[in-house]
């Protein structure tokens, strides 16, 4: 080995970075257009907002297509020096995120008009956060993931408080920011521990890719670690599989070249045991940091205030897309760590405990809410709990090494995320459609069925579907059903029973909304006037998401069948 430096040229394949590049580029274009369009002749603010809306929508569609193409050719091989690793799961998660963003864009013009929001900034922030989220779903490196989380969070903080006239919005943004920063500290701390324990920040390495490990595992063959290779080629999963990490030190070696003594560096690798305490601390801290982002109890304090204060569509985007992204990353992290022999025992309690607390806290908290958006916030805490049951299933020792089962659990998580997104688009969509009346007190929904039967039906559909187990043939039923099935299969009965009990409690508050809409007619005197926007945008989204809720409720596997599986 010589001391000469080789020029470091990262290999960038355009098709791999296209989805992210498209979103970031479109965000920048939006910012430029926003500034430049004002100079165009005959331009009114309304027309400008219209153009920005179309540009955003089209770029999202483009990103969606590229993700879909990526998904079809997904090979789970790390790219960009191992910073990303696009597997089918991540790509489908990104598609769900883009779906939520598209719903946002379609419904946004009336909101922008009504609340007089700065369109250019809103769309640019949407695209930036979207890029952060889609990158997070395929992130393969802890620091990259952290940066993705920061990108998406910073954009979401601003989106939460973009209505500067609303005092609640400012409060929401500030609260979100403070607690988000808190969470980031946990994340960084955890990442540091993980690096200290394993000597790498990659989840899945390039040396032996996940595919190869899976193949070797199936054949029951040992995996040889490439000792001489630099450690950045190795991922946490390989280190943990070996149980030993590579410690690389460079030490000076003197050689005689052409009669002269030349001092060169020699890279020496030795093996050291992985410290399980550091590893657990690292995972626990990263998990807690993600819990903040996922609004899982007991780290959920921000969610009700942010949902209530933020503009409804921003709240919808925060509730759906950011959770999809963070869950996708959590799944990848958990999978990368699955080779750690202490992982299930040490983390099972942590993950299962968070799931249990979230389900109970979310469902019980929602019962006493009077504000519709706060109710949805608590409901989303509970739904996060149900998803965490699936994560607990994924780390269960019975699942370890059973790749068919892992695939099933991953599908269950993905389907649940999709179902959750579709149902919440519908619920928040109706609330946004009704304007101030829909976003406030639940009692303002009284008599909605008599006045606007179609809207009330859409909301009832979403509520019954959010209830999950209870009304079959709606998407929410299958979401929970899949998760519960896998959890029972590995024997996590206690979690499932808590989940079922929570589901009964949830029926109370979801049905309360239905009761107000269908069975009561005494609208409170202080109910704000109805201000439903005209045009086809809202009906389009509401009909489309209703169709998703019903269609995938009838044929749940269609979601994965569409994905070519």
């Amino acid at each position: 080995m010589t001391g000469s430096f080789q020029a470091y040229v990262p290999q960038v394949a355009l098709d791999q970075v296209l989805p992210f590049a498209l979103l970031i580029g479109a965000g920048l274009v939006i910012l430029a257009l926003d500034a430049l369009l004002d100079f165009a002749r005959g331009m009114t603010p309304a027309r400008r907002d219209n153009i920005l809306c179309w540009v955003t929508g089209i770029s999202l569609l483009g990103a969606g297509f590229t993700h879909y193409a990526d998904f079809l050719g997904a090979n789970s091989r790390p790219f960009l020096e191992g910073a990303f690793r696009a597997d089918a799961f991540g790509n489908l998660g990104a598609l769900v995120i883009i779906l939520a963003a598209l719903a946002f864009v379609v419904m946004s013009p009336s909101l922008i008009r009504r609340r007089r929001l700065p369109a250019g900034e809103l769309y640019a922030l949407l695209l930036f956060s979207c890029s952060g989220m889609t990158m997070l779903t395929v992130a393969n490196e802890l620091v990259t993931a952290f940066i993705c989380i920061e990108i998406l969070s910073l954009a979401l903080y601003v989106m939460a408080g973009i209505d500067r006239r609303s005092r609640r919005g400012g409060e929401a943004a500030f609260k979100y920011f403070i607690l988000g920063a808190f969470a980031s500290a946990f994340l960084v701390f955890g990442i540091a521990f993980l690096y200290g324990a394993t000597g790498t920040t990659q989840l899945f390495g390039q040396g032996a890719t996940y595919d190869r490990m899976m193949a070797a595992e199936r054949l029951g063959m040992p995996i040889t670690l490439p000792l001489g290779e630099p450690t950045y080629n190795m991922g946490i999963n390989e280190v943990l599989h070996a149980g030993q990490r590579v410690v690389t030190v460079s030490q000076p070696v003197s050689e005689i070249v052409d009669g002269q003594v030349v001092v060169t560096d020699q890279i020496v690798s030795t093996l050291a045991a992985v410290n399980p305490m550091w590893l657990f601390l690292g995972f626990a801290l990263v998990f807690v940091g993600l819990c903040f982002k996922l609004s899982l109890a007991p780290f959920h304090m921000w969610a009700p205030d942010v949902y209530e204060g933020a503009p409804t569509l921003s709240a919808m985007f925060i509730a759906t897309a950011s959770k999809v992204a963070a869950f996708a990353f959590l799944v990848h992290l958990v999978e990368a760590m699955s080779f750690w022999s202490h992982f299930p025992a040490a983390s099972g309690f942590l993950i299962g405990g968070v799931a249990m607390v979230s389900i109970l806290w979310g469902n019980l908290g929602a019962v006493v809410q009077s504000n519709f958006k706060r109710l949805l916030a608590y409901s989303s805490i509970a739904h996060g709990g149900y998803l965490t049951i699936a994560i607990a299933t994924l780390v269960h020792p019975e699942v370890f090494g059973d790749y068919d089962r892992i695939e099933r659990v991953r599908s269950a998580i993905l389907f649940y995320l999709f179902a959750y997104t579709a149902m919440n688009i519908l619920a928040f969509g109706v609330a946004a459609y009704l304007g101030a009346r829909g976003e406030g007190d639940i009692r303002n929904y009284r008599g909605l069925f008599r006045r606007r039967p179609a809207v009330a039906l859409a909301m009832a559909l979403s509520m019954l579907s959010l209830m999950g187990l209870g009304i079959p043939l709606l998407i929410g039923f299958w979401g929970k059903m899949y998760v519960f099935k896998e959890a029972i299969d590995v024997g996590l009965i206690s979690l499932v029973i808590v989940g079922a009990a929570g589901n009964v409690v949830s029926a109370f508050y979801y049905l309360r909304v239905v009761v107000e809409m269908f069975m009561r007619d005494d609208l409170p005197a202080d109910a704000p006037p109805e201000e439903s926007p005209r045009g086809l945008a809202f009906p389009l989204v509401l009909v489309a998401s209703s169709a998703l809720v019903v269609l995938f409720g009838f044929l749940p596997p269609l979601f994965l069948a569409l994905g070519g599986r």
Binding site: L464, G470, F484, D489, N503, R512, M519
Partner: protein, 557 residues
């Protein structure tokens, strides 16, 4: 195909009516649809259904199984067939009887609402029709997920029926009803998932039986309790009954009639169809528990009924008491009690349904249900008084009416002193134990207390409402029943009388089911083959050529 048609006819045609009918015409549409449905069901019962109960062989997900179910439809669920989910429906004798009961009572649900429902009529009748589909599907479903869906499909329309058209505290009642039912059905779902992952790997009930899962699961108590939790909430058995008085009291008349007449039976039906055949060992082991709960329900329900001032609430508590009888009959695990319990399922639908109809008629006239507000009505409404008397007596269990035909065998079975019918002599069975200790009379005596108390509260109620002096001014101007109302009560009275006088016609098909269930629990009870149900029908000549005499007979074999 015919069965599918019967099940979905109310829903699909109801949807059509919702689009086409005018609000005022909707009731006639609903009536027509339900009559068509009843005719279809009768056609199936008379011409299609094979009452001799032949067992056919069929293939379900690659397994040849013997199935007693007829008129089957089996369609694997698109894209979900790898989980062995399928739309499977079929009827055996029990199912056929329940379908006939459902199709019949549905008509009364519409008839009694003709003038009672004044707002949002289209929705009301649509919900009734959806409820009908849910109930029919529940009685026909042979796939656990389809059963679960049908089970939930019954809840939603009733939730709206109570919540929108109910009386004062309807919202409280409807939410309570849904929460109770949902808690039960979630436990059922967990039990279903448990079954799927503990050897069955299918949701098809027939395949589970075909795979011999009942033997494999002989240690399983929790999944059995999960199923029973759902079914006993629906029954409802003490102490899970508290939703029932509220739901009944607040529901509109049609809701009460359907709820008492059919919905409560789905609980018993589930026990007989799924819980016992799949977990016979657990059922036998836990029979004492359910027997005593049933005894408590019988007496507690009756005592609660005695102190009610609201007629409807009284009838609701009488339901708790009567359903206790049925559960008692089921868990005695002997021929007469089981046959009596199944017959009582139909009887209770007729008599309690009739009582709720009567309460609805008087409520429509007087807008009160307090007994204190009535008195001496027999003077003003003689026809109403006479027809209600038949219903009350049928509910009390007067010999010659249907209630007696059902309750008597239950008491006989509980007593265990059936000379020809051998009970379980095995001390590990509850009844065997009691019988060994000469204690079966205790169960029977406590249950018989329920009959006596039933006579007390129902006849006292009748006396307070109909006899005495007509001393309330508001009651002076009440009009007697119109033709539509007379038809409702008279039709049910005729049915009560027919079953009371000729119980053997109904008992014959019931005994098929009884024999089946007893065959299922024979192994855990270690019964001999001579244990056969009480038979009301004329016993056929056996191999030795002599005709069996009397009402209770051992069958051949």
């Amino acid at each position: 195909m015919l069965l599918t048609l019967i099940i979905f006819c109310p829903f699909v045609l109801g949807l059509l009516a919702l689009l086409l009918a005018q609000a005022k015409q909707m009731k006639y549409w609903a009536l027509g649809i339900l009559v068509v449905d009843l005719l279809l069901a009768l056609y199936a019962a008379v011409f299609v259904f094979d009452w001799s109960g032949a067992v056919q062989t069929t293939e379900i997900f690659g397994l040849e199984v013997q199935t007693p179910f007829q008129m089957r439809a089996h369609v694997p669920w698109p894209l979900l067939d790898m989980f062995e989910i399928s739309y499977t429906v079929g009827l055996d004798h029990l199912g056929m009887l329940m379908v006939l009961l459902t199709a019949g009572l549905g008509i009364f649900g519409v008839l009694c609402s003709f003038t009672a429902i004044k707002h949002r009529e289209k929705e009301f009748y649509f919900h009734l029709l959806v409820l009908q589909t849910g109930m029919l599907a529940t009685f026909a479903a042979l796939d656990f997920l389809v059963f679960y869906m049908a089970w939930e499909l019954m809840v939603i329309p009733l939730y709206f029926l109570i919540g929108i058209w109910g009386s004062k505290d309807r919202l409280y009642a409807t939410i309570k009803f849904v929460l109770y039912t949902l808690a039960g059905s979630l436990m059922m779902l967990l039990a279903i998932l448990w079954m799927y992952y503990n050897g069955a790997n299918t949701y098809s009930f027939e395949k589970m039986i075909g795979l011999g899962m009942a033997e494999k699961w002989h240690m399983a108590v929790w999944p059995f309790l999960g199923l029973m939790f759902a079914f006993l909430i629906k029954v409802p058995l003490w102490p899970l009954h508290t939703w029932l008085p509220d739901a009944h009291t607040e529901a509109p008349t049609a809701g009460s009639v359907i709820l008492a007449g059919v919905l409560l039976k789905t609980g018993i039906y589930g026990i007989l169809r799924f819980a016992i055949p799949l977990f016979p060992h657990a059922a036998v082991a836990l029979a004492p528990l359910f027997t005593w709960l049933a005894i408590i329900a019988i007496i507690y329900g009756a005592m609660c009924a005695m102190v009610q001032t609201d007629v409807k609430r009284l009838v609701a508590y009488s339901s708790v008491s009567h359903m206790g009888f049925i559960v008692l009959g089921v868990f005695c695990f002997n021929g007469p009690a089981l046959s009596g319990a199944i017959l009582q399922m139909i009887n209770h639908g007729i008599s309690t349904g009739g009582l709720f109809l009567a309460v609805g008629m008087i409520y429509e006239r007087r807008h009160t249900r307090k007994m204190a507000d009535f008195g001496g009505l027999a003077h003003r409404l003689p026809i109403f008084a006479a027809l209600t008397m038949v219903m009350v007596l049928s509910s009390v269990g007067l010999p010659g009416l249907n209630g007696f035909a059902g309750e008597f065998p239950i008491l006989v079975g509980a007593m265990g002193n059936v000379p020809i019918m051998t009970l379980a002599e095995n001390p590990s069975s509850f009844h065997g134990f009691l019988r060994q200790q000469n204690y079966t009379w205790l169960v029977a005596a406590l249950a018989a207390m329920g009959v006596i108390l039933g006579a007390v509260y129902l006849l006292l109620m009748y006396q307070k409402v109909f006899f005495g002096k007509l001393d309330k001014e508001e009651n002076e101007s009440l009009s007697d029943l119109n033709g539509r109302e007379i038809f409702q009560l008279a039709a049910l009275s005729v049915a009560a009388l027919l079953i009371g006088l000729f119980p053997q016609t109904v008992m014959k098909p019931i005994n098929h089911t009884t024999r089946h269930i007893l065959g299922v629990v024979a192994a855990p009870l270690s019964l001999g083959p001579e244990n056969e149900p009480l038979r009301y029908e004329e016993a056929p000549h056996d191999d030795h050529g002599h005709a069996a005499a009397g009402t209770a007979q051992t069958p051949e074999g």
